[in-house]
Symmetry: D2
Subunit: 157 residues, 4 copies
């Protein structure tokens, strides 16, 4: 598969009323749930089902997260989360994300999360070979820009 055919990584989210706080925007913790949706979509669109990995006893708990918030996301706003693979190691993978307001593509937040691969007892283990191969392919595609905004089709909800 050529790099420019790699399926997109854009996840569309409608800000829920339940996600707003009294400041009138989505509470900052929700971005971690949105980024999680983003990487799940990116992986699924490329043949790695996180639900499937879990059924095989492979977990990917979050070991580190960084978030930079720029603008608030209002209730009922459409938000696009763009997800990319930033780094792949034998036992961990780092994703990076941008959340933008769909209406004007204004940047709402950026972030990264590093996931470690564990067995069902939460002992670290190597990422399964096929998953690692695909993640590495996504990383290279992101590096060359093939996985950038221009190349992205909206993912299913």
């Amino acid at each position: 598969m050529a790099a420019d055919q790699i399926p997109g990584s854009r996840t569309e989210i409608r800000v829920r009323y339940a996600e707003t706080d009294q400041m009138g925007h989505a509470h900052h913790m929700n971005y971690l749930a949105w980024f999680e949706l983003g990487r799940t979509e990116l992986m699924r669109a490329n043949g790695v089902s996180y639900a499937g990995l879990e059924r095989e006893g492979v977990l990917l708990p979050v070991a580190r997260a960084e978030l930079d918030y720029r603008r608030g996301a209002g209730y009922d706003d459409l938000v696009w989360v763009r997800s990319r693979v930033k780094q792949v190691r034998s036992r961990s993978v780092t994703f990076e994300y941008e959340a933008v307001r769909a209406e004007d593509e204004a940047l709402l937040a950026r972030g990264t999360t590093t996931l470690v691969c564990t067995d069902s007892g939460l002992r670290t283990r190597r990422i399964p070979v096929e998953a690692q191969r695909i993640l590495e392919q996504l990383r290279r595609a992101a590096e060359t820009g093939a996985n950038g905004p221009g190349a992205q089709a909206p993912a299913s909800p």
Copy 2:
């Protein structure tokens, strides 16, 4: 507009990892957020923007909720929420919902919520005339089945 042209009320939700609990299904409280998404979509698709009402100082807090749970919703499952207007009064409106698993349309949960109309100081007030007219039209459509599953197109996310 003929009843059978009333736009649909089906909202599609992908169960988030953050929504699961250690029983392995979406925690039961999430259905209230999903039903909220459902009625928002139903209203928006028919010309009543809840965000718009709020900007005019009209709020619709939930006064009562009933939920019956039948099956758990698994992580990454697609869930359809079907929303209908059940009853319209001068100062309140009751919606009813079904959440089904998209894959096989198995019923996950049913529920109703009654919303009261208030001003921004949470004093009850009449539902604005135009909103009430549309809600009443939706109620009649639901009664005659025009707004049932068969008539529904998927709403945007």
Copy 3:
């Protein structure tokens, strides 16, 4: 143990900023999480550990919930959740709850939840004998008022 010595069922909750919505109060879905805390405390204070039941393969998923909302709970408000056992059957138990604002004991919401007893595969089963005995004792105490507000000591957080 005399009925009036039955340990209390009052759980204290500080409304979190993350729980508020843009209406300026705790979003209505949080009451389901608070009620869950309330029944867990009530059970634990009387010798039934829900975490312990789960480790033995006994689950108590929620089958039905009813909630009536009266007033909003503001950010940083202290809320007391009073929990009582309303009905015990061989395979289900119903709790009832009141959430009041600690400052003036104003009623915020009432509710009930019915939990069914299942095995780890979510097949219904009988409530374990000892748990059922304690739940039945709590039900009788609630009926005679021994477990009412006047008899309650604050539970640990």
Copy 4:
């Protein structure tokens, strides 16, 4: 007030069932809500009410967050969040946190959040003088260890 009299910053949290995910631990996004509770308690215990600031039109949205996760927090575990002021600037303040399991003080996660001071229109502004004075005092106390674990009394819930 002498530094060693500065009230403590330990907030006690009981992990809610609703906070667990199917991996069997509190979902990683909840730490942001817990840290928020932690800094709110620290501020309130020292005379700065965040709810009070908001009523005066002073907001403190989160601009940046970093989290390192070490161990999972199980359902019903008691977790202590220790909060300290790390840096105070004219328009922002950075807190740091540790979440430990109460039972054995095992480290669950560390994190920092940086909050910017804004008016109600989300335009940055200076931190009010009195609040800044207290935050600066807390920062110095943290630096000298007076606000460390040994000096901490449990905060009210």
